[in-house]
Symmetry: C2
DNA sequence: TCAAACTAAATTGTCGACAATTTTGAAATG
DNA sequence: CATTTCAAAATTGTCGACAATTTAGTTTGA
């Protein structure tokens, strides 16, 4: 197993670092980010037990530092912890996925409502551009690429940010979207909806541009609800 | 400053502990709970810097253990952390309170919708009983007691649990409600609504009993939205 | 006097070791 | 053979110390 941290830090910056270097990062934070990705992508299997000594060796850090990272992952909903037992990767299930859809339906619906009030013309233009890019890429590639790739989530992200509600942004972007991505990676999302999704996204943008918050909310809720129904249908036929 | 932990643990349980003793608790967990209460009630002022050495001495634990507790508080949204700077108690503001209302409006609306589908007759009866109790107490005490005290939140809690959506329950009960209580303690919630709130709660229960999820959701959203508007109005007149 | 530079103190980040608890698995019992 | 008991091993919880970074205070220089 490869060492992930060089023994000595190479120092060649005798000159003051670039003034706006905002990346004040700590080992725990780095490991947190790394682990998050490995969990989302399933390299560390869902439901698997976390061995602190083993992971600490893997990253060549102490257990204390690792635990710092693990506690953040628990906050992100990717790990669960039991006293005196330890951490375990969250277990995915269809039932939990349906619950997640319900929560997204409600939160993103609200985000969309607020986005209609708060997004600037520039932001909306940016959103349209994003969607156009995705459509262009989609035209080239095969059917289910859009849903699988980050494209769809980019769109949802931008709207959530457009809500300008910091709490909403934190809940969705820092806690729930990593779970969403985890489901997409490991369940491979349902995507007979690839084409319909574009239309729905277009309609949502239009409602936002018209400053019609109530419509925008309804459209977003239907958009997410449709995905949920898709999963429910699939679940019942199996 | 008083020591909060006795030097020696008194051992008088030579017999096996009660079989269903599920309270496996750790020092970090205990301190977490204690700190949470002190923060919510404002004993540790909002916005104040957390001194790890000082708090560790106060609870007579090591910094590692304290940090475990602090990281959980960050997960609960009561502390904020900056790398190399440390933890700080969240700062409350009217703007953030309005954001919180928006999130509650959306999540509790959904919870209410689901509760109408999932609550059993027994649960609904329990809910009615709770409300009746509150009304009885309210009749005795002065006007604004209901809102101030835990009564109102009890009602909301029960509905959230009635949703049977574990994710929703976790988000609302573990992450957001402590913030809500913190605002009530430290801002002293607006309560010309004390009487109206009872009526609204009754109507919500009725909709749930009728299994009319859509109405239940709308009523809950209006109920919370009314509180938000109250705060907005007050904000504009100052 | 004010601001920049430097030094000392305090705070957070990280480490390794020990204690408490759980898990493993072998031995004992029926 | 299945179940229980018990001891050893492994894992998590907790501790205190050191390193890295930030903060406070003092000195210096214009």
């Amino acid at each position: 197993m490869t060492k992930l941290r060089p023994k000595f830090k190479i120092v060649d910056n005798m000159m003051p670092a670039p003034v706006s270097n905002l990346k004040v990062t700590t080992r725990a934070e780095t490991v947190f980010t790394g682990l998050r990705q490995r969990i989302v992508e399933g390299e560390i299997a869902m439901g698997s037990k976390i061995s602190e000594p083993e992971l600490a060796r893997y990253y060549d850090i102490s257990r204390s530092t690792l635990r710092d990272a693990l506690s953040r992952l628990e906050g992100s909903g990717l790990l669960e912890r039991k006293a005196n037992i330890g951490y375990r990767v969250v277990t995915l299930s269809t039932e939990k996925l349906l619950e997640l859809f319900r929560v997204r339906e409600s939160l993103e619906g609200m985000a969309c409502y607020l986005a209609a009030q708060n997004m600037t013309a520039a932001q909306i233009a940016e959103l349209r551009e994003l969607l156009a890019d995705h459509e262009k890429n989609e035209a080239l590639q095969q059917g289910e690429a859009y849903f699988q790739k980050a494209g769809d989530l980019d769109f949802h992200f931008k709207i959530v940010f457009g809500s300008a509600n910091q709490l909403l942004i934190r809940l969705l972007c820092e806690e729930l979207y990593y779970l969403v991505r985890m489901y997409r990676f490991q369940f491979g999302m349902a995507s007979p909806r690839a084409k319909k999704a574009f239309t729905e996204h277009h309609n949502i943008i239009q409602a936002i541009e018209d400053k019609d918050g109530e419509l925008a909310e309804i459209l977003m809720r239907r958009h997410i609800s449709a995905s949920r129904l898709n999963v429910e249908k699939r679940m019942n036929t199996l």
